[in-house]
Amino acid sequence: MITLTINEKEITLDKPVTVLEAARRAGIKVPTLCHHEALKPYGGCRLCVVEVEKMPRLQTACTLTVADGMVVTTESEAISKVRRGILEFLLINHPLDCPYCDKAGECELQDMVDKYGPTVGRFGEEKRKVPESHKDHILARNMERCIVCTRCVRMCGEVQGASAISIIGRGNRSRMEPFSSAAFDCEYCGNCLTVCPVGAILSRLYIHSFRPWQLDKEVETVCPYCGVGCSLVVQVRDDSIKRVVPRFDLGLNRGLLCSRGRFGYEYISSPERLKTPLVRKNGRLEESTWSEALSLVAEKLGQIKSRDGGTAIAGISSPRCCNEDNYVFQKFMRMTCGTNNIDTVSRTGFASAQKYFEDLLGQGITANMIDGLKNSDVILVLGGDPAAINPVLGLSIREAFRRGAKVLVVGNAKGLERYKTLQVMPEVFREADVLESLLIEIYGARGIRGEKPALDSGIRELSERGCERTGERDFDELRMTLLESVSISIVFGPDLVQRADGHRSLFAVSGLTYLLEARLYLLSEKPNEQGVIDAGCAPDMLPGGRPLSVQEFRRKFEQSWNGAIPSDDGMTLFEMIEGAANGKIKGMYIMGENPVFNLPNGSYIKEALKALDFLAVQDIFLTDTAEIADVVLPAKGWTEKTGTVTNLERRVQLQKKAVETMFGMEDWRIISEVSGRMGYEMNYKEAADVMEEMAKVSPLYRDLTYHEIGKGDCLWPYHGEPLRGEMKTVPEGAAMERDYTEDFYLSVERPLFHSGTLSGKSPALMKIYPEPALRIGTGTAEKGGLKDGDKVQFSTRTGSREAFVSIDDAIRDNRVYFSNNFRGRGALDLMTYNIDKVTKAAGIEGCEVKIKKL
């Protein structure tokens, strides 16, 4: 126990902290400029000086550790004089352009000078002149205002880990540089922006457009982009979002954001938003009324149902929509249309993996706290770059590395280039071999665990069958490191699922998780991939993960929902597509999804959907899929409605309404309207009513209310229990025999700055990453005689594109990466697919690519 006195107040602490922190806990505010709660003590500004008895000179509270019996004074005439002197120093070169500066009103320097003075300047010399930098599209940089507190540099280096900026020069010639893209690996997280105390770094998205005191309101909500679900604050004026800012005391991200979350909000006010329902007349989509459009959907689906039965109808819901939307959607499909044909595009990644892992390892196996990554000894990264797919989760891996954890990467992961202990590069498409070999060796060393019979026997069989070792560099070190460690986390990305034998990787990872007693994290590209499953948008599962095949569960829901649920499992995503193509499926309802663009072989998907008798699409934009629909229904989007989403940790969070719009309807409301017109009434007045029902019927959400969710720490299972048993046997897979001997293989790039439709409609993100480029590793480029900036045509069996080459050191194999984020220029349409028999995910095929220099 340490007892000290600050301003005559006695404070007792159980652990030593800084005097600044001790004062803060006692409610005493000590002024600071260079200090920031998210950063390590620096001691540069000297404003936090305090008097400490028995110490000869003033001490900085931010760097001084408390000691028992210490007597501290934080305010006195002498201290005020020192602070005034320091502020005077800061002002000698700081321009007094507050009337023009956007920071005025929330400027820490301004506030401090207001409190401590000086009121008159005595500096009679010339101020330093530094021209404002206009180089960057996103960040405005005014180095005359900079007070060299270095918060931005420390944030970028110590926390974000991008190290894209540094102090350049020395002494009074110090400047922050460079805040420009490409060459300096700026990740555009904008976290520098959050910590800048003055107007030296500002966002071009809002400069000169408002004053902080003119905001109407601030709404705490959750980011719409990825499965991490960062908390953020939306600042609104006149029903338009002026700015998105994080808060250090809010959510799992603790003040950090990524480029998409911070700068990607403008899509919601895009002029391209769908505003009125559209109905196809004479082959063309024409503006219509809600009543006409809703009645038409009800009429058409009703006709198909009565003519061909409910199984001729299928529905695709969306991991971008809320739990409420998805819950109502599956209820509508099951009760109103009479079908279990419900799935999502997550089938190609998250949903397949999640289901497989839970079947083998138990429900909730992937429900692990992101924060816990920091405390791992070893992090094994598979199947994608966490720092791009889930950027803020990526930061926890970087943090773990800095704390001494070993980060083991299998495959390419650009965002971990400086944060990895070793990297194993499987040959292209032979990841499953490497993982199986690894599992066999770990099993050889550790033996069986004996807790899960299906896995135990599966691993034994695999080991007896054996696996061809592929001899990757550092494989042995990878194995040794895993065997020597106690606290292991496995971070699993979507890439490994997208193989026709993806289940092999999934089994191997299940086995590794089991034998190594690892925590498993499943990367998630969309904000509600977990919630969609939990809401029951799966052909074989009811809400709460209840297997449809269990009659008892079915009956319970039938009672609540007042009607019969079809007893057979429905079709999975690709079965629906096949059904559409071969006429088994006549009508389809797609909510918030764009399969034509977001699935491989889009041209084929498009033809299949065109063959439908009737296609209804509800969305916020007129997507490629909406364009071929018979009816298009405009939905409300993020910040326009309230609803819950569930992140990859299974944390249920609230996306709140922040602005009023005159157009669009909530997804759940559109569906209720259609449902009512089809004769099955849904009487929800607001989203909370849907939640109330979910909390009643789904054991996952038992007793959950918006009030509880609003606290931000509702993690799965909320008052719940494991809901379904594990598999008794490992599902039989099928091996793939194929040679991969081409020079280049096309892969889908998952860029940090894009997510697809939403990011494409966000001007800021388009400025950061305006054009898709063909990314090639240094080695392959040399082999192919390609240079950075070369214009090339690249072709697969199904199509070709033109693009500029971008050489990327972080790509270590002969894959070439092209994004699927730019409309009309996606990578996925150049590929075909082959379904994995076990997971029903699409194994991407046809990646062999020829590159021709233009």
């Binding site: 540099v153 190290s163 894209a164 900026i165 350049i168 020395r170 540089e177 690996d185 400086r418 050191d809």
Partner: protein, 154 residues
């Protein structure tokens, strides 16, 4: 990029420290020698060779005054004008060099023969005034002496 000899040299330096970042300052000297000055390309080479963030490399390179960020003349004159040298007239010598050899402090003569830098103390206070020409050391300077010395540098 650096040639193999240079890469080998940098590798040897790296081996002498527990962390690769320590090889940064020595590598910057090498890059300066290879490229003449620390151009963007030179800094990028160092960053890639040591797998360090380019911003950190720039940050360090710009902190230390002996790294050159602009192309230099064929020879570099570094004259000390700190207190001890100043007390013995080095500031006048600085003016003399500027005039005689037409090179401003911080600049390079039009014929590219000399670059001229005013140095802080070079530790020759006992034989002040003193200067370095490239890596050669000269002290007890006078105007005549300087003319004679610089004659040797073409």
């Amino acid at each position: 990029m650096f040639n193999d000899t240079v890469l080998k040299e940098i590798d040897d330096i790296r081996a002498r420290y527990p962390e690769r970042r320590s090889a940064l300052l020595p590598s910057l000297y090498i890059a300066q020698k290879e490229f003449g000055h620390l151009s963007s390309e030179a800094l990028l080479c160092v960053a890639k060779t040591l797998n360090l963030p380019e911003a950190d490399v720039r940050g360090a390179a710009s902190f230390y005054s002996m790294y050159r960020h602009k192309p230099l003349g064929r020879h570099l004159i570094q004259l000390c004008t700190n207190v001890s040298c100043m007390l013995l007239g080095s500031e006048k010598l600085a003016d003399f060099i500027s005039e005689k050899f037409r090179v401003e402090p911080g600049g390079t003569s039009a014929d590219g023969r000399f670059s001229f830098v005013i140095m802080e103390c070079i530790g020759a206070c006992g034989t002040a005034p003193a200067m370095l020409v490239d890596t050669d050391f000269y002290d007890n300077l006078s105007e005549e002496g300087i003319v004679e010395i610089l004659e040797k540098y073409k």
